[in-house]
């Protein structure tokens, strides 16, 4: 068994197990910390796929910045446990059954699609398909310059929106 395949299975196992625990966990603080583990597993997969730039971005931006934002909010709200709201309007078990059914149907659909997709018989790529940060940066600022600028405006809007939404005075206008 080649080293690459072993590494793939190791990282895939890390990603799947930690992600499952994220969803199962009842304490959001643990969920966030486990999701960081999942991101690290995915970053390892990105390295295997000759994408070191994205792997580093994944660690720095996703695991570093976004997850810290989540952790900050979880601790700010200080409501870690999931509680069940007693109500006669919403049947919690019914919602769960329908949700579980939808998830299983989705899994079956994906399995069906993946087992049928034999059209794309891609051979193993050669090693020159490893892209440097310089090459990616050049493409981002040339071919994808418009998308890049649009993203910057999107982030500005999101920032203003987040500040407005979360500010204490927005509730009582």
């Amino acid at each position: 068994m080649p080293v690459n395949l072993i590494l793939f299975y190791v990282f895939a196992a890390i990603a799947v197990i930690t992600t499952l625990l994220v969803v199962v966990q009842s304490n959001p603080v643990y969920s966030v910390l486990l999701l960081i583990g999942s991101f690290i597993g995915l970053a390892g997969l990105y390295v295997l796929l000759n994408a070191p730039f994205v792997a580093v971005i994944q660690i720095i931006v996703y695991a570093g910045a976004i997850m810290v934002l989540f952790l900050f909010v979880v601790m700010l709200l200080n409501a870690p446990r999931e509680e069940v709201v007693q109500s006669n309007l919403i049947d919690a078990s019914g919602t769960r059954a329908i949700g579980g059914l939808l998830a299983i149907a989705f899994a079956a659909e994906l399995a069906w699609a993946l087992t049928r997709s034999r059209g794309l018989a891609v051979s193993a790529p050669d090693e020159r398909a490893s892209y440097s940060v310089a090459a990616i940066g050049q493409r981002i600022f040339q071919e994808y310059a418009f998308a890049f600028e649009a993203t910057s405006i999107l982030i500005l809007v999101a920032m203003v929106g987040a500040v407005t939404l979360a500010s204490r005075h927005s509730g009582k206008r």
Binding site: P2, L49, A51, I57, E83
Partner: protein, 100 residues
């Protein structure tokens, strides 16, 4: 050498876990985290296809997806904070003041 289908199946598994989390969990934070899981599954697909088709487009699109995910997380968490201030809970079933 892991093949393309390995990565696609892994991505499908992760996306399904994320979907199940969104549908089954009753905690807004966990729902947002599950959305992040789904975004990551899609990112993995992009990178895998980019690698196996010999193109860097996949990586560039993932770069944009990560920035958009950051914006989404910021706005989503701001909404969670605003909602929590009104209702003092994170259970989405509790937000029903618009119900007729």
């Amino acid at each position: 050498m892991a093949e393309l289908n390995h990565y696609l199946i892994l991505s499908g598994v992760l996306f399904t876990i994320g979907t199940a989390g969104v549908l089954l969990r009753r905690n807004l934070i966990t729902v947002l985290l599950s959305i992040e899981v789904m975004l990551n599954a899609v990112n993995l697909t992009f990178i895998a296809f980019g690698h196996f088709l010999g193109s860097s487009d996949g990586q560039i699109i993932v770069f944009f997806v990560i920035t958009v995910a950051a914006a989404e997380a910021a706005v989503g968490l701001a909404l969670v904070i605003a909602l929590f201030r009104h209702v003092e809970t994170l259970n989405p079933d509790a937000f029903r003041q618009l119900r007729g």
